[in-house]
Amino acid sequence: MDTLIAFLTVFSQPQLLMLVGLGTFAGVYVGAIPGLSVTMAVSILISFTFSWDVYPAISLMIGIYMGGVYGGSRTAILLNIPGAPSAIATALDGYPMAKRGEAGTAIGVTTVMSFIGGFIGIGVLALAAPFVSDFALKFQPRDYMLLAVLGILLVGSLSTGSLVKGIFAGALGIAIGAVGRDPLTFTERFTFDLRIMEGGISFIAVMIGMFGVSEALMQLHHVDKTAVRQKISRIVPSFATVRKHLPLSMQTSTIGVVIGALPGTGGDIAALMAYDHAKRITKEPERPFGDGAMEGLVAPETANNAAVGGAFIPMMTLGIPGDAVTAIMIGALFIHGLNPGPMLMIDQPDMFWFIVGALVTANCFMLLFGLTGIRLFTKIVEMPRAVLIPLIMLLSIVGAYAVNNAISDVYWMLGFGVFGYFMRHYGYPLGPVILGVILSRLLDDNWRRAIISEREDLGRFFGGLFSSPLSTVLFVAVVLIFVSQTPLWTRAKSIVMRGKA
């Protein structure tokens, strides 16, 4: 009964319902406008909702997250510019469809498929999270430590970039998170004897800099870029179309949930993997992939929205973020005095069920806003970058300043913004930096607990890794991910292939 009441909190309180609706509406536009990303919006928003109660703050953020993941598809279809990273694969077939005058059908199918994917993700979250959190109670400090390492490694290995750069970025994030006084011994770490460094670096300043300012600086390269807008036909898809693609959507939703649930990986990677899966299993698409195949729309759109629910699983049960947005949400929960992890699920299950309820509501709002208001939409998303970029910069500064009313946070944000700008140019992923910052404390605390419990003996620590099946699996996964990205693996694979031949 309590569960049901917590689940229905959003519906029973008009203010929360309105905030989820408002968040989803804003999210659709944030996701759709190229240059505005969900991660950026949520990281800026966290500083503004700082003084709010936790429920309204989370309601707004969940709405933006759900709407934003979907919103990117709109501009991908209409303008061939993915509004959000999770819509990169959608543009491959969405835009060719729009060019043929089928923009309405493409948007309609995308909306319904995102809705289906979203529901599957939330369903898995609701069913799996209580079991995972029960299981998580058996986790030992070393398991948490391995999970944190696994999350940081996964981002680098599943993306198309270099794993070494991903590892560098993750380690850098952990180092940033360690700046300040050590909470256990009060020893100064990376403070360079500067008083300003003693309190550490505000992770909000790092996030806004990396995702807000660096993106705005990057967009300066594209100020003069214009896109050709397509005409829109009927939006609501026929039942036959939805039914035809339902089996594929189930498969790609599963991919989405799994990738979302893996620590560190989110909708963008899920969408690309689902697109690849659709290409492999669709023997006879109505049109070739890349030329307007409906399957090329269905797969990434179901996967990226299913990944939202998936990303909440490790966040709520282990306190480990599923992706960059949930990393920021963990920060928001910390700010509001909550500590995500198995104990939160036990001590405050109502918070978990409230989040599930908010996600369901946001998903329904997404369907509503997705199938309506297209005229208003086309006007807003065509906001010139010349106006948008200065506004993002202004909001970033306000956001960084608002948390502590400290100008030093603004300087940190600018520094990380410029640094993130170069990192983007040279192929260093930003996600692992944020994950590293968020997971730094967890990693540090659990390493120290684990090694103290093994009496400071490294041999016993490694022996302990093989004494529990979970630790063994996690350790082997970490080693495998690492080895799979090295030349050693490629050489071993070619030897095996040659042997088979």
Binding site: A91, A175, H425, R448
Partner: protein, 187 residues
């Protein structure tokens, strides 16, 4: 995995990071070398926290992470150095154009002026200059869009989010009180 061509090779997301796989961009090697030097410097600093005192010492994780940073930065330097340079790009045009440098200066200027001048005048100045420069449109358009957006942002963040920004030279509190009195008087 399908890898759509990233726009301008600038890293749209972690799924499609920027740069080239088999070429090095202008300045990439310099950036990698700076990262290596910074990592080694941080490793030395981390060693200074507690040395090799104990595995659970406060410096253990900082030392481990900066060691990982140093090793990975070294690998990146070696790899990057072995790659041929992209011939079609230049540092001034594709990586650090004047407009980016200018905007970084604007942002620093904004941060410097925020406290003494206050949020409203600094933001107005920033938006007007930035929008005029980027849009290259008339003063009328620039002023309408800049001040209109600033008013909307101020109303939303000051009233909805109750964010307190430095008032500076603008008597913001008296201004708000004046309108409160007006609306109170109307009742």
């Amino acid at each position: 995995m399908t890898t759509p061509e990233p726009d301008h090779h600038d890293g749209t997301s972690d799924a499609t990071p920027g740069g080239y796989e088999s070429n090095r961009r202008p300045g990439e090697l310099g950036f990698a070398v700076i990262m290596l030097i910074a990592s080694v410097g941080l490793l030395w600093n981390a060693y200074g926290i507690s040395g090799f005192e104990a595995l659970s010492a406060p410096g253990a994780i900082p030392m481990a992470t900066t060691l990982v940073m140093s090793i990975s930065a070294l690998i990146v330097v070696v790899r990057t150095a072995s790659l041929p340079r992209v011939t079609t790009e230049t540092l001034a045009k594709d990586i650090l154009p004047i407009v980016v440098i200018l905007f970084v200066c604007f942002l620093i200027g904004y941060a410097v002026l925020l406290r003494p001048l206050g949020f409203l005048p600094t933001s107005a100045l920033f938006l007007i200059i930035a929008i005029k420069l980027l849009s290259k449109r008339s003063w009328r358009f620039t002023l309408t869009v800049s001040l209109g957006n600033l008013l909307a942002i101020w109303l939303i963040f000051r009233i909805v989010f109750t964010v307190l920004m430095p008032a500076g030279i603008v008597p913001e509190a008296e201004f708000i009180q004046f309108f409160r009195d007006l609306s109170g008087g109307a009742n």
